[in-house]
């Protein structure tokens, strides 16, 4: 059914949007991100309700250490930049550069998760777990859900590297990398909210 005009238009689009089916999957992924925004919105609102319900446990101010949190922020924000460079390489058709940037993104993400786990373990050593209070339950599930998303993203990106090695940059792999980058930027934005509303607010508020 496609008219000649449509084909000309398609040729100007980036590769990941060129195929109708693949482009539709990007739209679908945006819809998925909407649901994920609402998951986090629900978790943030729960945290907002519970952030003072510390029972006999520690308060946010007593518990949080800004050093690891700053390191996590640095790692995750940098990884958002590297996946951006990866998409830039993809648009220029440089598969090796794309894989290198994706690999670097994975490393930075792994650094983030490691730091976060270390942070949680140090809380557990102080008996500050979700058994302690509603505040810590809400904190753990909010930050933990974000951390689980990042962990899932790391494994996803690893499978994408294998697919890139096998197929190179095609309409389909390009779409997959592009949706992964959307996901990764989204997690970055969520982290900025966690950093502000949970950590900064807990330390200063």
């Amino acid at each position: 059914m496609s008219l000649p005009l449509v084909d000309e238009h398609a040729q100007q689009l980036p590769l990941e949007f060129a195929d109708e089916h693949e482009s539709m999957k990007i739209t679908g992924f945006w819809m998925f991100l909407v649901t994920d925004v609402l998951i986090f919105a629900s978790l943030f609102s729960t945290y907002a309700v519970f952030h003072n319900s510390v029972a006999a446990g520690p308060t946010a101010n007593q518990l949080f250490k800004m050093g690891p949190v700053l390191l996590e922020t640095l790692l995750l924000l940098t990884s958002s930049f590297t996946i951006g460079l990866g998409i830039y390489a993809m648009r220029k058709g440089q598969v090796r550069a794309l894989m290198a940037w994706t690999f670097l993104t994975i490393l930075l993400g792994a650094g983030f998760v490691t730091t976060e786990i270390h942070d949680f373990v140090s809380f557990a050593a102080l008996h500050a777990t979700w058994h302690t209070s509603a505040f810590l339950s809400a904190f753990d599930i909010l930050v933990g859900t974000h951390g689980a998303h990042v962990t899932f993203g790391i494994f996803w990106a690893v499978t994408l590297l294998f697919q890139l090695r096998k197929h190179g940059i095609t309409e389909r792999t390009a779409r997959k990398i592009y949706t992964f980058s959307l996901y990764w930027h989204f997690l970055d934005i969520v982290w900025i909210f966690i950093f502000t509303f949970v950590y900064l607010n807990g330390k200063l508020g």
């Binding site: 739209t27 819809m31 998951i39 629900s42 979700w130 339950s137």
Partner: protein, 658 residues
């Protein structure tokens, strides 16, 4: 090992599931299961079952799967209802123990909302939306199959609870602290949370799928304001699903964490707050009410136009109304718990926002009536349900407005007045709409009409049974009877009305039996639909033969008008004048076992978590990972349907020229 076996038996079969009636059902289910296996083996149908149904990604077949599941669930939920009504008619005889009564009202509500209403709606979406917009499938066919299997295995997980381990018993809303581990040990509530999380994921994916389908896959020329009303209602419902299910998932997951891992979200100790659950639940729950009615507004809009032989009156206003309802739906959730004590300002806001919804709904009622006005009305079964819906739904709406009046709600909260109100809208609106849609689109799905005489019998029994059941319940509510009680003293003057109500419930039970007879009879002897357009329809699905071939449209139509097929007929055009050179190769999605296996893995994970048997849960989790990995690396998910095959099919149907 010897101590392991008694533990296992006691965990899987506690006294609560060893009641005589349940054992009888167990026996019946085992016999039925063996019967099906024998039948499939004898007729060598296993391959047919696997290749044609369990691995299918065809939206038309998935629609039939949804329909079967929802009719089975309608029976289960209906039997639950009859058990409840039997107990309430005989309050002194202990027809059921109190604990079983709690379980039955919980499963009745949960099944009717999540496992009957929603899949029935998705059956209609799948059956006709791609056909109405001139598409060959939904946007993501494999995801569509995954949605179905997540729903189906969620439903199975929920339904085995009454045989293995015990049913949930905290009401369909599952409020804490009723669901807290301290007050409610045993696996019942775990079943509820896990089944709803699994089925809810499927529903969310359906929402994404149909939103993208309706946004991106419409035939050339079909602008938004040329979409049939049912497609509009699909789009709005999908958007509601997208925004409603995440808070539910979060609330369910937190409750599950409280039970399984000892967190303190909704507990009474250590700062937990049960009202947070109630807020999150109804933040989902109120939009859910509209998820359950807006698709049926779409059905009624199609049915009323077709059987009045007129265009739908005030189409732009109808669109504006459902879009307005979509937005208002998010501003009313507190009206489910005015008695929480949020204060007069908050309650006044939510009372007013609730009343506001009556305006767009009222507009729609008028438009349906004006569509019928001066039309040549054909009283088919589908149309009868439409005509019955208007007064029934108006009563339901009016009592809803009464409940939105905050001071009145303090009296009526959790009384039988409320029970009568929501059954009034859910039966008069949702169920009548579903049945209207079933009778309307059945020929398109199965290639034969449902017998009209039998259908009208079922209709009248449903309508009369409905009023006999629920009118007394309004009075009972005003007399102070509260919901979820299994007995009451005879001196309260509630008994007579309860007996009448139970009588009505059994009339509806009879209606269901007639409906099933109608379906079976029609499948065997029903009038075949040879034209593809038995109702002289208006929208594109009626331009196709019944049942529709795999590829739907041999050539994608170009749409110029709102009632596209009607306009084509008026101009003397037809899609049956296909020339051989118009047909090209078509790319179709390939069948895949992954959706079924993914659903099964989620079932194993859910079952393991229900009993906190972690090795089983881990097996399920690994299964999920493997399915996702396989899906990610599978690039071979389409096949080309050759133009010759399509030409041959169309020629057989007599739709090819020359």
């Amino acid at each position: 090992m010897p101590s392991f076996v008694p533990y296992l038996v006691h965990t899987l079969f506690p006294p609560g599931v060893l009641l005589p009636d349940i054992l009888l059902i167990d026996f019946g289910l085992i016999c039925a299961g063996i019967g099906v296996i024998v039948l499939l083996t004898k007729t060598r149908r296993w391959g047919w079952l696997w290749y044609d149904w369990l691995t299918t990604v065809d939206h038309k077949k998935i629609a039939i799967l949804y329909l079967i599941a929802s009719l089975v669930m309608l029976m289960r939920g209906g039997i639950d209802a009859l058990m409840l009504r039997a107990q309430l008619a005989l309050p002194t005889t202990h027809f059921m123990p109190a604990s079983q009564y709690d379980e039955v009202f919980t499963t009745h509500g949960t099944i009717m909302v999540f496992f009957m209403g929603m899949p029935f709606i998705f059956a209609l979406f799948n059956a006709v939306v791609p056909l109405m917009i001139g598409a060959r499938d939904v946007a993501f066919p494999r995801l569509n199959a995954m949605s179905y299997w997540l729903f189906a295995f969620g439903a199975i997980l929920f339904n085995i609870s009454f045989v293995i381990g015990g049913s949930p018993n905290a009401g369909w809303t599952a409020y804490p602290p009723y669901t807290g581990l301290a007050f409610n040990p045993g696996p019942g509530e775990n079943y509820y949370f896990l089944a709803l999380i699994i089925a809810g994921m499927g529903t969310t994916m359906t929402g994404i799928n149909f939103l993208v389908t309706t946004l991106k896959m419409r035939a050339p020329g079909m602008s938004l304001m040329k979409m049939p009303m049912f497609v509009w209602s699909t789009m709005v419902t999908s958007a509601l699903i997208l925004f409603a299910f995440p808070p539910l998932t979060v609330a369910l997951a937190m409750s599950l964490f409280d039970r399984l891992f000892g967190s303190h979200f909704f507990t009474l100790a250590r700062g937990g707050m049960p009202m947070m659950y109630v807020n999150l639940f109804w933040l989902f729950g109120h939009p859910e009410v509209y998820i359950l009615i807006i698709p049926l507004f779409g059905v009624f809009s199609e049915v009323v136009a077709t059987f009045s032989k007129k265009v739908l009156f005030g189409y732009p206003v109808m669109v504006a109304s459902i879009v307005a309802i979509m937005f208002l739906a998010y501003g009313t959730w507190v009206h489910h718990f005015f008695t929480m004590g949020a204060g007069p300002a908050v309650n006044a806001f939510f009372g007013l926002s609730t009343m506001l919804i009556a305006i767009p709904t009222g507009v729609k009622i008028f438009n349906w009536i004006f569509t019928m006005w001066g039309g040549r009305i054909q009283t088919t079964t589908a149309m009868l349900y439409q005509m019955a819906f208007i007064p029934v739904f108006m009563v339901g709406g009016a009592t809803g407005i009464l409940l939105a009046v905050v001071p009145a709600d303090y009296q009526l909260h959790n009384s039988y007045f409320l029970v009568a109100h929501f059954h009034n809208v859910l039966i008069g609106g949702t169920l009548f709409g579903l049945l209207s849609g079933l009778y309307y689109w059945w020929p398109k799905m199965f290639g034969m009409k449902l017998n009209e005489t039998q259908g009208k019998w079922a209709f009248w029994l449903f309508l009369i049974g409905f009023w006999v059941t629920f009118l007394p319940q309004y009075l009972l509510g005003l007399k102070g009877m509260t919901r979820r009680i299994y007995t009451y003293p005879l001196g309260f003057g509630w008994h007579d009305l309860n007996v009448i109500s139970t009588f009505g419930a059994f009339i509806m039970g009879a209606a269901f039996v007639v409906l099933v007879y109608n379906i079976v009879w029609s499948l065997l002897y029903g009038e075949r639909d040879l034209t593809g357009d038995p109702w002289d329809g208006r929208t594109l699905e009626w331009s196709l033969p019944s049942p529709v071939p795999e590829y739907n449209f041999p050539r994608i139509p170009v749409v110029h008008d709102r009632d596209a097929w009607w306009a084509m007929k008026q101009k003397g055009q037809s899609l049956a004048d296909l020339r051989p050179e118009d047909v090209h190769d078509v790319e179709m999605p390939k069948n895949s076992p992954i959706p079924f296996l993914l659903g099964a893995s989620f079932f194993v994970l859910g079952f393991g978590m229900t009993f906190a048997w972690w090795p089983i849960a881990i097996i399920g989790f690994v299964g999920i990972i493997l399915c996702l990995l396989f899906s990610g690396f599978d690039y071979d998910d389409h096949h080309h349907l050759k133009a010759d095959v399509i030409r041959q099919t169309e020629a057989t149907l007599g739709r090819l020229q020359g």
